[in-house]
Symmetry: C2
Subunit: 257 residues, 2 copies
DNA sequence: AAATGTGATCTAGATCACATTT
DNA sequence: AAATGTGATCTAGATCACATTT
């Protein structure tokens, strides 16, 4: 909130910057937008930009296996950033990064980001803290996959998406979700049916809407809560809360076909 | 190799430092050792030190779930470091870090490490590159848990431990390994029996020895290879190779009760 | 045509219970 | 006593095959 003169930032990580750090970064931030399905980078690509999702924009990190399956490992929304965040500078990407829900972004050339990090210790530390939170999220996903049922993980995914975007209708086919979770489509279809029959969600072709977030929360595993707790320890106020938006518009309908 | 005058370092990440960066860090590195089972930090602890496993020392990162189970998310040996590596400075730990195979370490106060990072861009970048590789390892573990069988994951774990330590006999009970992988002890016992019957491993009470590493490699999933490939892209020469040691003694028997 | 639903069947892995080995 | 082995049984989830819906 510190550096807000009429310009809604729409990204909590950038909003958490000190005023002077924001001034360093601001000239290098480009306005950018992308529709659902856009690939930010593929495994092996040299990463040139960091992307900051704004408003309801959402990105998935995916590990692509030899057989072509792409398993999701983390979701990033307006609490964070994608691309060259953990590493410094331009490196080959390990993952695929795919826009899960289209919308607006800030984008920055990694050379500029590196310069900014060299210029400011506090800026560097903020990004390091975010990297720690992203790491925590991926750590938790390992444990989640090993320990929790498909119903729990499905509920977790839906909640994570809703919390980050502030949007309660996710545009995703059951097939896509099944691949991301690494489970069978046919079985997932039954899990989703059960959730629907209990009135927790609503479904349409290619879309799942949350009707009872609190019911979903009680069905989900502990994993989301554990991650958001770490965010609060390390980056207070960055993980999306109940009333999270800084006046940034939620919906970018044109980017969600 | 650059900065080696008779002192075997025993850690590939430190060995990859430029001579001048090594000179910055060396005075802050303390000799330290720990037996198998030592906890370096618990979830929520303020992390004060980074630890560099030397020789055959090996550390596990574990996520502790609400029900008390501790699922392993990454192994760290002489290719890396544990504690405050991704983050900067002292932060609450998200994971448990436990010594999986006792031995020697270098240890550094994180305040000193931060000072060194501030003093040297190249040192900072080396650690950032390592953080990227550690992240890749955890990413891959998410996909591995979702996609691969228990036999594949067991083979992967054994290989990862052998590659990092250079020791082909891991001191671990089947119960411990089952918990770390998040699988049933009883079922794992059968998987291990099958591997033994095929002559791939040998077992003793509380110990598993690798007899045919190449057979094990063909039974394991792709995940180890994918991670070591990324190490080679990003930190050439740091992931343990066939003849990895810089004259550092392999065995610290006193620390492995 | 792509997405979803669903019956039928299969199987990897979990769980229980208890014996055996170290 | 702790670790391991193993028979018996159960079940979450996978897979197949095909119908139905959008």
């Amino acid at each position: 909130m510190k550096h807000q003169q009429g310009e809604p930032i729409g990204n909590n990580l950038l909003r958490a910057l000190r005023t002077d750090d924001w001034k360093i970064l601001r000239p290098s931030l480009e306005h950018w937008s992308a529709p659902t399905g856009t690939l930010l980078h593929e495994p092996g690509d040299t990463v040139r930009y960091a992307y900051f999702p704004r408003g309801s924009s959402l990105v998935s990190y995916l590990v692509v296996l030899n057989d072509g399956r792409a398993i999701e490992t983390a979701l990033v929304g307006r609490e964070g950033a994608v691309g060259g965040i953990v590493s410094q500078g331009r490196l080959p990407a390990y993952t695929r990064a795919e826009v899960q829900l289209g919308g607006l972004f800030f984008r920055i050339d990694l050379n500029h980001l590196e310069d900014a990090k060299s210029a400011s210790l506090t800026l560097r530390h903020l990004f390091a803290r975010y990297a720690d939170c992203l790491m925590a999220q991926v750590f938790q996903s390992v444990a989640c996959g090993a320990a929790h049922s498909i119903e729990q993980r499905t509920a977790r995914w839906l909640l994570a998406a809703v919390e980050r975007t502030g949007v309660d209708a996710m545009t995703v086919t059951q097939e896509q979700l099944a691949v991301m979770l690494g489970v069978g489509r046919s079985y997932l279809s039954r899990v989703i049916r059960d959730l629907r029959q209990r009135g927790v969600i609503e479904t349409r072709r290619g879309q799942i809407s949350i009707r009872k977030a609190d019911r979903l929360r009680s069905l989900a595993c502990e994993c989301n809560a554990a991650v958001s707790h770490h965010f609060n320890d390390v980056l207070k106020g960055v993980y999306p809360a109940e009333h999270p938006h800084d006046g940034f518009p939620d919906v970018q309908p044109g980017l969600r076909e």
